[in-house]
């Protein structure tokens, strides 16, 4: 066994006032040293190296495709006059949606005094930060002329939801970053004390970020207060970010988007995909880093209940969104709805509904379905279904404008992304996963200090 430095006394004796209740998970029999050893960041193994290499290759192919787009213009995409928001905007909406999980797991559960979610908070927060970073990047990619981005701020109209989106994304990014940083401070102190394990370079980084954290009562008081303020602030900002994203569509008069329900519909979908992503990440981290003692079956059980509730809620909004217009079948919306229900997009539409919602609901309603592996499969289904759902929200509507498409080239009548669009979209997904991967390599994915204090509390 590796010789570990003793843990500084004040780190385990000063307990954050936020942690009061007995957590779900480990039995409380673990020693602080054991927890630290289990949760300290680990070097990539063979599997980790392959995983990182694959992600890097996908990201590099995406970067090359983006180079081509910059070199030759947006003509390399298959977006034309009608479908001007293609796979990029679908991807953007997907990223914004998934980023909302930070506010759900960290903020809402913390404010509700739910402490079993403590091991999941950092997973949720890093998913939120990486997603929001790539949501911002993908929107610049969609612009075609990134050097003109500043014009949006210099000449932007405050009346436009696009400006609101830019503002709220920046705000959400900073709040998520702070929510990641404050709880990390006590862990940085622990990381600094294990210089031999982390290496010189990483230790330098830890010192830069948190050498001032001594774990005094006054520091904890300020930090806990800051986390509380962040948890309160992030909830309305998170609601704003996805409501505004939904308004990008709902304020545009088009079949499928002309809805007063879009804000709630988008937010419920966002919570579902975010929770699904956390389940997938929980399973992967648990498996890759042998965290069975920290991310237990009880965590899956409880997350399963949350996911099934969110899936039912999102299904309810979907029924509202599609059944009511289909019942009326207004002439201008008919082509759009028919295309979704039984036309060209029907396989994708029913895949998103059945695989992305109905099957996970059925699986997770049963106790056996809320075991780690079925949960992981359901999580994958939810995330994949959610990605296609965003594609379905964006593209078919643009192909069915209220005015007929006349005297336009044949290619304007349909849309399927070019290889460059696929490469950039997949590259952005790989990029978001790379941020999470590198984060896990550098920082503990389960909060060490909180786990130790909760463990002591449980004893």
């Amino acid at each position: 066994m590796e010789n570990l430095n003793p843990l500084p006394q004040q780190q385990v004796t000063i307990i954050s006032p936020l942690i009061k209740k007995k957590p779900v998970g480990h039995s409380g029999s673990l020693t602080s040293e054991q927890i630290i050893q289990d949760l300290l960041p680990q070097k990539f193994g063979k599997r980790g190296m392959i995983w990182t290499a694959v992600l890097l290759i996908i990201a590099m192919i995406g970067a090359f495709a983006y180079y081509r787009q910059l070199r030759y213009g947006l003509v390399v995409t298959h977006m034309r006059d009608y479908v001007s928001w293609g796979i990029y905007i679908s991807n953007f909406v997907f990223f914004v949606a998934i980023s909302l999980v930070g506010s759900l797991i960290t903020a809402i559960l913390r404010l509700a005094n739910v402490h079993w979610a403590t091991p999941l908070t950092r997973i949720a927060e890093i998913i939120a930060v990486s997603s929001i970073v790539f949501a911002s990047i993908i929107i610049v990619v969609d612009m075609g002329r990134p050097e003109r981005f500043m014009n949006l701020l210099l000449h932007g109209r405050l009346q436009s939801p696009i400006i609101w989106d830019v503002i709220v994304i920046c705000t959400y990014f900073f709040i998520s970053l702070l929510l990641l940083y404050f709880p990390l401070l006590p862990d940085l102190k622990i990381l600094i004390s294990f210089k031999e394990k982390s290496g010189r370079l990483l230790n330098k980084l830890y010192r830069f970020q948190g050498s001032f954290w001594k774990g005094t009562a006054a520091q904890f008081r300020i930090s806990d207060r800051a986390i509380n303020i962040l948890c309160i602030t992030i909830v309305p900002v998170a609601f704003c970010i996805h409501t505004v994203t939904s308004w990008l569509f709902a304020t545009t008069y088009r079949p499928g988007w002309d809805s007063t329900n879009f804000g709630a519909y988008f937010i419920s979908g966002a919570f579902l995909v975010g929770a699904g992503a956390v389940v997938v990440a929980m399973f992967m981290f648990r498996w890759a880093y042998h965290l069975q003692k920290y991310i237990t079956e009880k965590h899956f059980e409880k997350m399963g209940r949350i996911v099934v509730l969110l899936a039912l809620l999102y299904l309810y909004f979907n029924i509202n969104e599609y059944l009511v217009p289909a019942f009326k079948m207004k002439k201008p919306e008919e082509a759009h709805l028919t295309e979704l229900f039984s036309g060209q997009y029907a396989p994708l539409f029913w895949f998103a509904i059945i695989v992305g919602m109905i099957i996970p609901i059925i699986v997770l309603l049963f106790k056996k379905g809320r075991k780690p592996l079925p949960m992981f499969i359901a999580g994958i289904m939810i995330v994949v279904g959610a990605w296609f759902k965003r594609y379905l929200i964006v593209t078919p509507t643009l192909l069915h404008p209220f005015l007929p498409m006349e005297d336009v080239p044949a290619s304007y009548h349909h849309y399927f992304p070019s290889w460059e669009e696929w490469a950039i979209a997949m590259g952005s997904l790989a990029g978001a996963l790379l941020i999470i991967t590198f984060f896990v390599r550098i920082y503990p994915i389960i909060p060490i200090h909180e786990t130790i204090t909760e463990n002591e509390n449980a004893e």
């Binding site: 109209r157 503002i167 602030t233």
Partner: protein
Amino acid sequence: MKTLNKTLIGLTLFLCSLTTALSVSAQDTLAQPVVKLHYFASNNNIQYLSVETVTKSGKKWKPLPKQTVTIFLDSNSAENLISKTSTDETGKSTVVIQPRLQSQWNNGSKHNFIAVLDENSTTLEITKAKIVMDTVTADGIRTINVKIMFLENNAWVPASDVELKIGVSRSGSSILSAGEEGTYTTDSTGAVSVEFKRDSLPGDEKGNLTLLAKVEDNELYGNLLIEKKVPWGSAFVNNGNFFDQRTLWSTRFRTPLWLLAMAYGILIIVWGTIIYLVLQIVRIKKLGNAV
């Protein structure tokens, strides 16, 4: 025997496909540039030609851009040259009949326009015609009277059975029919009368509407157009203040005050909180350094 049959069928199919391919290829190589001429007379005093160079691609006509076409009046000689013109990217060009050809133009009731492109020539025969428009208002009923005549033996003769559009000029060079029919046809006296049924149509600032009578691509007379302004519309009131209002559809300098207050209010509260939290990090740092 079976093998022989298969071979024969295969050979026949091969020959058929080869023949088809050769014939398609021959069609492609034989596709010649073609000049299409259209004659226009606007308000009976401006005569011009629209020149279009095209080629056949499969069953469709395809524009042939950047072609030089020489246009003659009546005969292919230097003194009868109207113009040498180059077509644009869409294969189109416009040629105005030169004033130096006026005497020749006045001499005769029919004329031929000859267009020469490379070794191909196209001829368009036109009978000189004029179109007259008059308006009458009686008992509150507004009527548009149009008459078309063509030149024959130096005399203007009524042109009967000519189809034309009569209406009001609207944006995008479209014509809103003045009556209930889309098109009208001249009677034996070359005349047609249409009751104007477009009340309260927006006109210019004085309420003027531009009435139009238009003959399109007539085999004998080409394209004829006559315009007349009449005060039959409602005066357009320029609402200069429309874009000066603070509305959601105004420019960024005219943002509604409530939106400004709301947006900046939220920004100040949220970013004020973020700044406060950053300052808390500074406080934590100071406390740590003091230990």
